[in-house]
């Protein structure tokens, strides 16, 4: 029982419990007919939320006020430009990925330059940046819908051994992120900065460099997500990132990462992302309309945070 008790204290466990419950309820309703399809769809769509969620988590860990609102615009720009660059040519898949990553790096540098040089609060800095990035995407896209290269489209939509390929990508990047957070100095540094930026500075941590890298990391993950999502959905759309703004924040917080910073949690993002998708599909199976679905989603987010939150009374 002690093992169970220590498991219950993990902040991420609740998002998995919630996801499993919703999954079971949905399966029960359909009498088990949709088990495989639902699980595969959940893993596929959760994979995209996980990618942006991990990036957002790194940024949120930096402490109060750190949030990247540029995520949707970065996704859109990376998706559009990468598809345009590849131009349905299978041999350009890898260079296309590099183009997407380069866009992420550029956006990240821009974000942090605004935060540091102009001393703008991160929310406003990334917001202004997102306006500019979104405009660039509109300018490059011009309403054209270029298809992804066939091999890439196949890769993103198909499964290997029953598990969607994009979920594998998300898994690899999650493990890397987990190792980065738990086993490297960099991971300790961002946690330290999130707990107290002054103390971190006095301890000799390169605060600016660490924050700089973190904003780049977040933008790069968003760019990779945009690249995959655009290939998955058969072309980049200008609004393809919009729902991921709130989603990226929601999965981080439901996953048990402290909003006040300094305490992050990779496994929780998986639970939360699966949960967010499954809630919507559960409400769909029960035949709820769009309005009811939105209301239920909102109430569930609040219920989760009320139940799981308030752990640390000293933090906001």
């Amino acid at each position: 029982m002690t093992r169970l008790a220590s498991l219950a204290r993990r902040p991420w466990i609740w998002s998995f419990v919630a996801a499993l419950t919703v999954w079971a309820v949905t399966i029960l309703f359909t009498g088990g007919a949709s088990t495989v399809g639902l699980s595969q769809a959940a893993l596929t769509f959760a994979a995209f939320s996980i990618l942006v969620g991990i990036g957002q988590m790194f940024v949120i860990t930096l402490g109060p006020g750190n949030i990247d609102l540029c995520v949707p615009a970065t996704m859109t720009l990376a998706g559009t430009v990468a598809l345009k660059f590849m131009n349905v040519d299978n041999s350009l898949i890898l260079p296309g990925l590099i183009v997407a990553i380069a866009i992420g790096v550029a956006v990240g540098i821009g974000n942090y330059a605004l935060i540091k040089l102009l001393q703008i609060p991160p929310i406003i800095a990334t917001l202004s940046m997102s306006f500019i990035v979104q405009s660039t995407a509109i300018w490059t896209n011009r309403g054209l819908r270029i298809k992804p290269p066939e091999v890439l489209a196949k890769f993103t939509t198909e499964t290997t051994a029953g598990i969607p390929n994009v979920a594998f990508v998300a898994l690899v990047l999650s493990v890397l992120a987990f190792l980065l957070l738990q086993k490297t100095v960099y991971g300790r540094w961002i946690a330290a900065i999130g707990q107290s930026i002054r103390a971190a500075r006095m301890a000799g941590i390169p605060v600016d460099g660490t924050r700089f890298i973190t904003y780049i990391l977040c933008a790069v993950l968003a760019a990779i997500c945009g690249y995959l999502l655009a290939s998955f959905s058969g072309g980049a759309a200008l609004n393809m990132g919009s729902e991921y703004l709130l989603m990226s924040i929601a999965v981080v917080v439901i996953g048990g990462t402290a909003v006040a910073g300094g305490d992050s949690n990779v496994p929780g993002i998986w639970g939360a992302s699966l949960f967010m998708f499954l809630v919507v599909s559960m409400l769909n199976t029960y035949g709820a309309g769009a309005g009811i679905r939105l209301i239920m989603t909102g109430l569930i987010i609040i219920a989760v945070i009320v139940l799981a939150g308030g752990r640390n009374p000293n933090q906001r």
């Binding site: 006020g65 917001l127 300018w139 917080v253 309005g291 609040i302 945070i305 640390n312």
Partner: protein
């Protein structure tokens, strides 16, 4: 710049200055805007944005952030275009319930020590869902009285200007001059000392949220007065616009440092930036981007002036 200017005045100076420069630029590009009708057209849409900005500013005064502002204003707009128009009594009850919900959110956030960002994020789905339920497709009709008020033409000064000044003055007295406002800003600055001085922080938070809801409701109603019909997504931009307006007007995210007059000026600047860009004949592709650029330039100016201020203090 001698001692006469307090640092609060300097904070207000930058937003005012940027608004003036933008206005001059617009007049230079399009001299016909320098008229009664021109000014009204330029600032018409600023009225709901200014009200939403004041609402966001109230929440920011107590160190919170409301990410549901846009969906809430949309929800109110839908209520105003349907219930408030057809059955005013029922409409008022719904709006009163919305205010009560906001107050309850304030209590919940305080009692359970929850991050306001997440709770309001959840609420943004709820308001959005309710708005979709009320108006699944764009439609409805604005109540006659608000339509009449929004398009009324008072002598000499356009309605939009009068409304903006009224909003700024009312908010200024409420936040900067009343004892209630002092407690609010105290909660943002140092909640513990306010509590030790014998005030209820719980009450203050609940009141802040309720008051913010009132301003947001006014924003929704005035928006419907301008557009004559509503839509569940009508004001989604307001979440980010209102935050940007507060910051542009010299407010801070923490510490209860806000400026109501600055917030209204910030909202006006953001609205004017859109018109300025269309007068410049910038391709529509770049309009949003240029708005971002203007935001960055104004904030850069602020940094510059803050540095000057600090240097003067040292001297």
């Amino acid at each position: 710049m001698r001692k006469i200017l307090s640092s609060d005045t300097i904070r207000l100076l930058i937003p005012a200055l940027s608004l003036t420069i933008l206005l001059i630029a617009v007049f230079y590009l399009q001299p016909r805007a320098m008229s009664y009708i021109g000014l009204n057209l330029l600032f018409n849409l600023a009225v709901p944005i200014a009200l939403a900005t004041i609402a966001q500013m109230l929440i920011m005064t107590v160190n919170d952030l409301d990410l549901s502002m846009g969906t809430f204003v949309s929800f109110v707009a839908c209520v105003a275009a349907t219930f408030l128009q057809a059955t005013p009594a029922l409409g008022l009850i719904i709006l009163a319930a919305a205010v009560a919900t906001y107050a309850a959110l304030g209590v919940l956030i305080h009692v359970r020590n929850l991050p306001s960002i997440v709770v309001t994020l959840g609420m943004s789905f709820v308001w959005g869902g309710l708005a979709v339920l009320i108006l699944p497709a764009p439609g409805g009709q604005a109540p006659e009285w608000i339509r009449a008020l929004m398009i009324s033409k008072p002598p000499f000064v356009p309605m939009a200007i009068i409304a903006s000044i009224t909003i700024a003055v009312v908010a200024h007295f409420l936040i900067m001059r009343s004892s209630f406002g002092v407690i609010l800003r105290g909660v943002g600055g140092n909640a513990r000392s306010v509590e030790r001085a014998g005030w209820s922080i719980l009450g203050a938070r609940a009141a802040t949220y309720a008051l913010a809801a009132v301003f947001a409701i006014l924003a929704g109603i005035s928006l419907v007065g301008l557009t004559t019909s509503a839509d569940a997504n009508i004001a989604l931009r307001y979440t980010l616009l209102s935050i940007a307006g507060v910051i542009l007007g010299g407010g801070e995210f923490t510490g209860g440092r806000v400026s109501p007059i600055g917030a209204v000026i910030g909202a006006l600047t953001l609205t004017l930036a859109g018109s300025f860009l269309s007068f410049l004949r910038i391709s529509p592709d770049w309009q949003i981007g240029a708005q971002g650029a203007i935001l960055i330039i104004v904030l850069g100016l602020r940094l510059l002036l803050n540095r000057l201020e600090r240097r003067e203090k040292r001297a």
